[in-house]
């Protein structure tokens, strides 16, 4: 047999096999997991939800596209992280927020939270939360104006606030309501648990239904896309903390279940705090991160001036992540083992 020309051989360092899971797939999984909660927000808030979430995704994607260098422009869009950031941000916004603000939030979140750090995997703060923190500091009134679920005109009508002209003020809707946490903090008024679990309460688009968020979390856990330690430790800390407080003064402090299902805790603990890029990489670090987040959440909610503190708690723990990582390196195999005599 005549010898053919040798093939062009490829040199690639071992190992040459791969597990099959890739980063973009993981990102897509998170988006899938968020679908039930997104669906619920559409159910409750109708067109408004579409407008707000759509604008924040548009802002995020535009920033991603604008600041990417020519070579990686397509790449950074394909890995779906920009869309995920926009979606997460959108779910934390109040339904009546002007579209331009949601857009700005998405844009700033990606620009300050991701692009300037060098893109995916290099940022140290959660971009979605950064965008939200920016919005909350910039437009405190619009960001804390909550509307009761369901615009008056049915599914296809939007809140007037959504349609404010760019850079212009919000036309406040006639009725505004408060979030369960706000009600509890300022009016000592507890919202029934069923409302918290199934929606129909004032709050941001994605936080109305705790149960659906939990469902997505379970999906992610099954797909192994999520470090289960973080949500478990955050939620656990919150439960324990509220239980202890409740032990001292059940009237004044919220019950564990209320703490668990109110506000953005579910959304934050399952989807934001677990952002792998900005949470500790070491398993022990993940516990510290979760416990720290839980404590800060309760600190701000119970003793702070704000009704809700999940966002700040996660951002603060993001800032502490490099330190946590550094001091929670696992014990290396064979280290610290006494030689058998």
């Amino acid at each position: 047999m005549k010898e053919r020309r040798d093939p062009d051989l490829l040199l690639f360092h071992a190992p040459l096999l791969r597990q099959g899971m890739t980063t973009p797939k993981a990102m897509r999984d998170v988006i899938i997991a968020l679908m039930p909660a997104t669906g619920a927000s559409l159910w409750f808030f109708g067109l408004s939800a579409v407008l707000v979430i759509g604008s924040s995704i548009a802002g995020a994607v535009l920033a991603e596209w604008l600041f990417a260098d020519r070579a990686s422009r397509g790449e950074s869009l394909r890995d779906a992280t920009g869309i995920l950031t926009g979606l997460l941000l959108g779910l934390t916004l109040p339904p009546g927020l002007p579209m331009w603000m949601a857009f700005l939030g998405g844009f700033v979140g990606i620009a300050l939270g991701k692009v300037i750090w060098g893109g995916l995997g290099h940022n140290l703060f959660n971009p979605a939360l950064l965008g939200r923190a920016f919005l909350l500091a910039t437009f405190p009134i619009a960001m804390t104006t909550w509307v009761p679920a369901g615009p008056e005109g049915g599914f296809f009508s939007a809140y007037a606030g959504n349609l404010a002209l760019p850079f212009m003020q919000v036309q406040v809707d006639g009725v505004s309501s408060a979030t369960p946490l706000g009600l509890f903090k300022f009016e000592q008024e507890a919202t029934p648990l069923t409302g918290l679990m199934f929606g129909r309460i004032g709050g941001s688009l994605g936080e109305t239904s705790g149960l659906l968020l939990l469902l997505g979390g379970i999906y992610l856990w099954l797909r192994r896309d999520l470090d289960w330690r973080i949500p478990v430790s955050i939620l656990g800390t919150v439960i324990v903390f509220s239980a202890i407080l409740g032990f001292f003064d059940a009237e004044r402090f919220p019950t564990p279940m209320f703490s668990l299902f109110s506000g953005g805790l579910m959304l934050g603990a399952i989807y934001m705090a677990t952002d792998p890029v900005t949470s500790p990489v070491t398993p022990r670090g993940a516990w510290f991160f979760g416990i720290g987040t839980g404590l800060l959440v309760m600190l701000i909610r119970v003793f702070g001036g704000l009704p809700e503190g999940v966002m700040y708690a996660i951002l603060l723990m993001n800032a502490a992540t490099p330190l946590i990582d550094r001091y929670t390196q696992p014990r290396v195999f064979g280290h610290g083992v006494e030689k058998k005599s």
């Binding site: 009134i141 505004s176 903090k185 300022f186 009016e187 001036g305």
Partner: protein, 226 residues
């Protein structure tokens, strides 16, 4: 030029160092006292005017005032309160009759300490005006405690019995209830709390209505009445 500064090795004596410092101190002391003395009258006048304006604002119908302190078990008028001594201002009308107290209070707000002045009429047991002197509350939210006319107006006739309470916006019906500010509940509550605390602190010390110290000359009132 750098090389010859490098070579000046011999260290000057300690005495010279100390003397240089002393002379510098002397000269600067003189300069500072000079500027201080020359600006003092203007500054004092500015401060007095500011205070008076604030007092007149929180106590409607008042045109004269004097500082009052609690000394030797009673409230008395002083020309200049001592440092760190709690003080209230008595407001008097054109005729020199006592109208009410302007009471300064301070306490932690949302962001930082809030300092305020409120007018209190002991006879009616009512707060009749409130002015924020100092605060670093969040612009756009917390700063409504002085920017929101509606909120400030809440304090124009407010009963202190049994104490002032903050209620949700639009629900205040009782004379001792203040409508909170949407989105800035903490700041609003802080204002009310400061007033309550100040009121409690002074409650025992203020004399019974009608026995307030009379206007003691015009000395503290530098040029209020033309």
């Amino acid at each position: 030029m750098s090389s010859d500064t490098l070579k000046q090795a011999p260290a000057p004596s300690s005495l010279r160092l100390v003397m240089t410092l002393a002379i510098a101190g002397l000269v600067s002391g003189i300069a500072i006292i000079g500027i201080y003395e020359s600006t003092l009258p203007t500054i004092t006048a500015n401060k007095a005017r500011e205070l008076r304006e604030a007092v007149f604002k929180v106590l409607p119908g008042v045109s004269r005032m004097q500082a009052l302190v609690y000394r030797d078990g009673r409230i008395q008028a002083v020309t200049e309160p001592e440092k760190d001594e709690p003080v209230v201002y008595g407001g008097y009308d054109e005729a020199g009759d006592f109208v009410g107290y302007a009471m300064p209070g301070a306490g932690p707000g949302f962001q930082d300490t809030i300092a305020l002045l409120y007018g209190y009429m002991p006879r009616e047991r009512q707060v009749v005006g409130m002015e924020i002197l100092e605060s670093r509350e969040t612009p756009g939210l917390g700063d409504k405690i002085y920017k929101d006319a509606e909120f400030v107006a809440e304090f124009s006739a407010l009963s202190v019995e049994p104490e002032i309470v903050t209620v949700k916006k639009g629900t205040g019906a009782q004379p001792n209830e203040v409508d909170a500010i949407t989105g800035a509940t903490i700041s609003a509550k802080a204002v009310v709390r400061i007033i309550n605390e100040t009121h409690v602190a002074w409650a025992e010390q203020l004399p019974a209505p009608g026995t307030e110290p009379p206007l003691a000359g015009e000395s503290t009132d530098d040029g209020a009445t033309p």
